[in-house]
Subunit: 332 residues, 2 copies
DNA sequence: CTGAAAGCGCTTACAG
DNA sequence: CTGAAAGCGCTTACAG
């Protein structure tokens, strides 16, 4: 019972065939007689044999591995996307490796090197941004790269992004149309490209409309930050009556500050819009108007591109859809 | 720029040493002169070389891979545990592979076979239960197994579980002490060992105290189910004033049913206790009294055992701690 | 400290 | 259809 994994040779001996035959029995479309294949299959079953993908990957130089690189994977949006990616990859016959980072660029660097070590066929990056040099090394090592919600383009990669700017504009217009007079924009200190896009969109729309808005961006992109900023905003002498939170987590915090701490009615006294459409946005306590991240589509797009042997440099911009619930006043 | 990964031979040529030297330069503690090592390091840097772990794993017969097998990985508790596990594994020098299942036993079977294919050194199972035969095959292939919150013991595995029964008892006592007269027990149709344990504890305590309780268990273990059961329970002619939900997700649903649909005050009109201590339990809208899953400890225990070369069959029962917030009335 | 050689478990031309 | 042989990229005794 020592660690003595079953090998193709064992199966060959047991079945009375060559190990070449065993190999072929496990290769779809290889030329083996049905009889031999059956014999091998029986032997494999009896011995509990599984092809060693490490060895197979080595010789075919395709490991079947795909690295998923992300920070804060316990977060609702992140885990939802990861789930889609993992399931899609598995369904496509690939095996996801999970590399948790701390969103620093150095952390992505390590993650990518890690991925190279395992000769992953690709890496899907959800957090942080690798520099060009690193990307080149990956490419040179035959690795495909897909960047999700990252901003800068990199040669040879697939970049999937949303129309964040547009969402910011829509958020502004929606709040105005709801009759909100004092608008606020809530963000975190993270400063990732997608958050920046939403902020810019909202700002531009406000400028174009000639209205001034309050802005807050401190701390992590979390519920806690939303709670703090919300409390701060609402206790001012000129509290906003319409808030766009760049993230649902932030929005939930703002909503709780409004309701639990100030006894405000939503949307009667305050309208709030979020972004991501995490599960909690649909919970009755929040019933948050938000923008849906098309996680399924993101995953599908990534996997399609990876399945295409000659996927060239590409940027895919996915449309973002507003989910209307009950946190924004309906114009009379 | 074809997929021509850099090899140790390339580095050797570039550095003007043998490929044995290259290998040694990347093996901690190997006997190489500092000079050679430096030369190799420089060459590797210039070429963007990373040791091929597939090949190294093959020859050392230790892949460095650990499979994480779980269903519903986008769920708060699950993703929190996965995050801890992934980070811990990475810190311990292991690489996590993520296999999403659908919690059916057949799905775990496939997952495990998948793991064997990659010669993972271990598999951590969070969902589903492999049968004995399968466990044996894993063991025979030199794979370690850790079962989290699974019930039955399997030879050669590490089993980590919580004192679910005790939690059920504590929930009952807490609700009684809070003065609740009509108690209900809310669960799902999942029937996993941990849920069953909590149910049993609550039931036993009730029987011992001679009080009858209402029970509901339908649907998935989700917010939605909690909302439905809560609505159903609260619209009866004899609504409960104290509810133990076997899971926080369920509890959040019940809480929302009570507040949003029946205008009930919590804990004034209704006391609720959950289990898991997911992030949302701490959000102000819920402020849920619950039992904390020691995810950090679970991960640490698993990784410790995996790091111990001769980890024998073991069952570790972790204590579960009640987190007191505001969803249970404080006895006068 | 260093390198030539054997071997990890597989696959894939190459003959038959 | 089948098997003996070479080779994927690495590591590790084995000599020197």
């Amino acid at each position: 019972m020592k660690r003595a994994p079953v090998t193709a040779q064992d199966v060959a001996d047991y079945a009375g065939v060559s190990r070449t035959a065993v190999s072929r029995a496990f290769t779809p479309g290889a030329s083996v007689s049905a009889e031999t294949r059956a014999k091998v299959q029986r032997a494999a079953e009896a011995l509990g044999y599984q092809v060693n993908h490490l060895a197979r990957g080595l010789i075919r130089s395709e490991s079947g591995l795909v690295a998923l690189i992300a920070a804060e994977i316990e977060t609702p949006y992140r885990s939802a996307l990861l789930s889609q990616l993992a399931q899609g990859l598995l369904a496509a016959g690939k095996t996801p490796i999970l590399i948790a980072t701390d969103r620093s660029d150095d952390s992505v660097r390590q993650a990518l090197q890690h991925a190279i070590s395992y000769r992953t066929e690709a890496a899907v990056i959800l957090s942080g941004m690798p520099d060009s040099a690193l990307c080149d090394i990956c490419l040179r090592n035959g690795m495909r790269l897909v960047l999700v919600n990252r901003d800068e383009a990199r040669k040879g990669t697939l970049q999937i992004r949303l129309d964040d700017h547009e969402a910011g504009v829509t958020a502004f217009n929606t709040l105005r149309r709801a009759g909100c007079a004092a608008l606020a924009l809530v963000s975190s200190a993270a400063g990732t490209p997608s958050l920046a896009g939403r902020i810019a969109g909202f700002r531009h729309a406000a400028e174009a409309a000639g209205v001034t808005i309050q802005e807050r961006s401190t701390g992590a992109t979390s519920y806690q930050t939303g709670l703090e900023i919300g409390t701060d905003l609402l206790s001012s002498t000129t509290p906003p009556d319409g808030i766009f939170c760049v993230t649902d987590l932030l929005a939930c915090g703002v909503l709780d500050a409004a309701r639990c701490r100030f006894g405000l009615g939503v949307p009667a006294d305050l309208s709030v819009i979020g972004f991501d459409d995490i599960a909690q946005a649909g919970w009755e306590s929040y019933a948050l108007n938000t923008f849906a991240q098309p996680t399924g589509e993101i995953a599908a797009t990534a996997i399609d591109w990876l399945s295409d042997p000659d996927g060239e440099t590409r940027v895919v911009q996915l449309p973002v859809r507003m989910v209307w619930r009950k946190s924004v006043r309906v114009p009379a």
